[in-house]
């Protein structure tokens, strides 16, 4: 059983079973192909995937802007499918921010509380609190068109947080910001999530954003979830080729299964050398498989010591690190990444014969 901070059993905030969404048309478009997901209370959960993978559709179903074709959707154990958006204790930070242009910053932030019929004094107090939280206090009476993009982003966030929702949905909220502001807001969002204790469901196509901010990540493709796990899990142990390819750079190696022991598999590489690799519990691959090895998880050694042998085709200098492209003798190619420091000088040159090694359990057996 997964356990929360302090050993309390975790509550499930949002739970979806076999959630499908098909848009009618010629031909019909299947945006979600039966999604099962459990998002825990008080977690920073990210939906990651390329555009069109269904992540925004899933978010809009949770918000209630659209209705699923079939399936169930529960919040803390109760179905929310019959509740319109204004009856769901869920708030959204829109990609376009969707700030009301005819209202001031403070009026925007207070809107949700006003709609809930809260007394004026309480609204004013909460608005002040929220503006302090996102550091916008001086801007209270500005029109939303008079503030910068970063500030609009903060107002959108404050507006969604003000009614103290159980779940906050964020639809690529950082995509319109420039690089430096985006970095700052990533930390800011993480801070807000842990301070408020609200469940954040964050949609992004930016893998780095997902890896830095999330407690858990769901990688989506073509309307279904390919893998759910913590950032380390996803990065170090991708379950399948799509995940390995979408997040970071990966080398794919042909190999043959030679036996297994729980999540460890003995594999034979194309060079005939043997090593061990990790595999998912729920898969039972046999025979020919594909292994994934991250470029920074392998090292260059002398030809004789390597698990794989080949010729150095290209050396590309990147400042912080150097990439080595190796033509392996089985005809595939392999990229290694090694950190630079001023005291290491380039000993190798193009055409040299080299060996490649990586530790036991570093390689990951991919699901077919």
């Amino acid at each position: 059983m997964p356990c929360g901070v302090g050993g309390q059993p975790l509550k499930i905030a949002i739970s979806a079973r076999n959630l499908r969404k098909v848009y009618p048309g010629q031909p019909p478009v299947q945006a979600l192909a039966g999604v099962d997901i459990d998002i825990q209370d008080n977690e920073f959960f990210t939906l990651l995937g390329p555009s069109g993978c269904g992540k925004t559709t899933l978010l809009r179903l949770i918000a209630g802007f659209e209705n699923p074709t079939s399936g169930s959707l529960e919040m803390f154990g109760d179905s929310i499918l019959d509740a319109p958006p204004h009856k769901r204790p869920i708030n959204t930070v829109f990609q376009s921010y969707a700030l009301f242009p005819h209202m001031t910053v403070a009026q925007n932030i207070g809107f949700g509380l006003e709609m809930l019929g809260k007394p004026k004094a309480e609204i004013a107090a909460t608005v002040d609190e929220m503006m302090a939280l996102v550091k916008m206090t001086e801007m209270a009476d500005r029109q939303t068109s008079q503030i910068s993009g970063g500030q609009q982003q903060r107002v959108a966030l404050a507006r969604a947080l003000a009614p103290k929702p159980k779940v906050l949905l964020l639809d690529e909220p950082l995509s319109a910001l420039d690089f430096k502001l985006r970095k700052d807001m990533q930390l800011e969002l993480k801070r807000l999530q842990s301070e408020t204790g609200i469940t954040f469901i964050f949609v992004t196509h930016d893998q780095e954003e997902a890896l830095t901010m999330s407690d858990r990540i769901a990688v989506m493709e073509a309307g279904s979830i390919r893998q759910i796990g913590g950032p380390r899990d996803i990065y170090d142990h991708p379950a399948e080729r799509f995940v390995a390819d979408f997040i970071g750079d990966t080398n794919f190696l042909p190999a043959e299964i030679d036996g297994r022991d729980g999540t460890t598999a003995r594999v034979k590489l194309s060079s005939g050398q043997k090593t061990t690799a990790r595999m998912q519990e729920d898969t039972t691959p046999s025979g020919k498989v594909t292994l994934a090895v991250r470029p920074e998880h392998a090292r260059l050694v002398g030809e004789a010591e390597g698990l794989l042998q080949g010729a150095l085709r290209e050396i590309v200098y990147f400042g912080t690190d150097t990439h080595f492209h190796v033509d392996i003798d089985d005809g595939t190619s392999f990229v290694l990444r090694q950190q630079n420091s001023p005291d290491t000088e380039a000993r190798l040159s193009q055409g040299d014969r080299v060996g490649i090694i990586f530790g036991d359990g570093v390689a990951q057996v991919l699901r077919d």
Binding site: N67, P68, T69, S70, L81
Partner: protein, 303 residues
Amino acid sequence: MAGQATSQDQAAARRRWLLLAPALTILVFAASGPLLITLVYSFLAPGAFGGVEWEFSTDAWFNVILQRDIFEDTLGWSDAHLSIFWRSVKLSLMTTLVCLILGFPTAYFIATRPKSQRELWMLLIIIPFWTNLLIRTFAILELIRNEGTVNSVLIGLGVIDEPIQMLFTEFAIIIGMVYVYLPLMVLPIYASMERLNFSLVEAGYDLYATRFQVLRRVILPLVKPGVIAGSILVFVPSLGAYVTPRVMGGGNQLMIGNLIELQFGQGRNWPLGAALSITLLAIVMVALILYVRAAGDEDVRHG
């Protein structure tokens, strides 16, 4: 579960038709419905003092282009009607042509102004368009009547002794229609001209084209949809014009619109008036359909 989306769709559809109901009711009562009744009337016999007799008759449709000679009882072309049809088409085409010759350079002129000035120039085109058609016709009338400004000035300068008779001629009708419909030519041409990427013009000159060649080979093909739209927008109302030929033509130079009115006034032949109306409507619809086809083809090619 599957019923969820469907029942919501049904609710949305019901809501949509409820919202549309008031507008459609008014339109059925004061636009579409009367048109259908007009169609029915065109198949009835005329009443003695206007109105209709409720008996089926195709006489009205015969009389649109044919007439029966009273003395010899033979069927012949209705010269009066045909000459009015011909005049309507001729004057409308000439109006369209003049509007094009004047409107194209004007639209080009506005489109080549700095961005900040363009809206102001366009406003100058739009203002006359939204002002009373009768007043504008009247303004032109005052200009060209025998005792009007043009003749007064010419006589004052000693160029002529007698005023030139311009009013109540086909020329006057064309002047009047060009004057009132010119904005309709400028608007769509400007719309497509504004989107014209002038680096294409630069590329034209770069490849040794002269000014005229750039105009003919680069600019014109690119703004053709606007030219077609403008021509249709001028041609259609010209064909159905009523006020301008009545005021400028003075009852001598009838166009279809005036012929139709005549059937409800002195002519007292409502079915013929109805048949003529439907004929005019049909011609206009054909023009509009041709236009939509042309515009659609353009979209496909550019899409």
